[in-house]
Symmetry: C2
Subunit: 205 residues, 2 copies
């Protein structure tokens, strides 16, 4: 099935399945079932079987899923069976927290550089990296053929930085700025926003 | 329609509509349409009309939506026409970034306290707050009848802290720890995880 024929909501659940399978593998399990995944993730087993069926047959009725095999397949489907170089724009509290985050590399992403435009931040060490002047961002993206960026700048700066990233060939932006970015349809934006999550939960309070 | 009859995916889009309506209002617009919302949000206008129809009639064919009215209705539906007190657990880089985040209060949430268990962090100022010893968390939650918490602690500490929060009566947890939390069905968890977003986008790369 071609990429665009799979509903986006289904694609959005694949990383959750991947994470849960990794967790079960760490627990030492070789096999799982749609029921076990469903119970752990708070979904229905039918939903999980239907989601996976978009991509092929990964288990047999009654025998469950081989965890190693399903992990490998899901990583291929999500294109994280390789490691994507990622640039991070913004070296404030949030940027520094992200630079210290240990969970990227095992999941298909490597933070290769962090940028800011504040003179007092440029040159400062952040984890294993050193904050670069944002003026050298174009060279980095071009030379390393980077396609993925994380945006951790204030809302007021985000539209201009995003426009620049798109111009430089970035195709996927993880956006922490509390603002909707206007980008061409060919560019994916995933918006991380604490308020969206809080408001969704407040509905159920 | 009762709360549980609305699909969760629909509820999850309401905060996006709210945010976009606030943005259009700031632009000075009094009226919008499902088509304008759709264009700005990258959804279909039929989807937006269908989502809103779960909750009532908010506009007339041909005249569009009155932005002030729809904002008010959506805030009521999401229960953010009041302000929820929120506690934040974890005063590392991420906790500090969240404590400095200016966007909570206008959207229905007020960060009232930040907690950590590290002696060298306790007492330190973070924005308008001061880091409290996590041992006083039960008293805070009880006295202020707090129902919402943000978890910004390392993955290894998250399960125990989450269990404690649930025991203390917290009903909604915004979880930044890169781990799936096991909580009773009555407790909502919204998991904020950069890897999930990056992996979803990688599918389209």
């Amino acid at each position: 099935m071609s990429q665009d024929q799979v509903p986006e909501i289904v694609v959005g659940r694949l990383p959750l399945y991947l994470r849960m399978l990794e967790f079960l593998k760490k627990e030492g399990k070789p096999i799982t079932s749609s029921q076990e995944l469903a119970d752990r993730l708070g979904l229905s087993s039918a939903q999980i079987r239907k989601d996976l069926s978009y991509f092929g047959e990964f288990g047999k009725q009654g025998t469950g899923y081989n965890i190693d095999y399903l992990l490998k397949q899901l990583r291929q489907i999500l294109h994280v069976d390789r490691v994507w170089d990622v640039v991070l724009i913004g070296a404030g509290d949030l940027g520094r927290a992200l630079a210290h985050y240990q969970g990227f590399e095992s999941e298909g992403f490597r933070l290769v550089a962090i940028f800011d435009n504040a003179p007092k931040k440029i040159g400062a060490p952040v984890g294993d990296l050193q904050v670069q002047d944002v003026t050298v961002l174009p060279r980095w993206i071009h030379e390393k053929r980077i396609r993925v960026a994380i945006l951790a700048v204030p809302a007021v700066a985000a539209p201009a930085v995003a426009a620049k990233l798109v111009e430089l060939g970035i195709c996927a932006i993880l956006n922490y700025a509390p603002i909707t970015l206007n980008v061409p349809p060919s560019v994916r934006v995933y918006h991380i926003d604490p308020v969206i999550g809080l408001q969704k939960m407040a509905y159920y309070l």
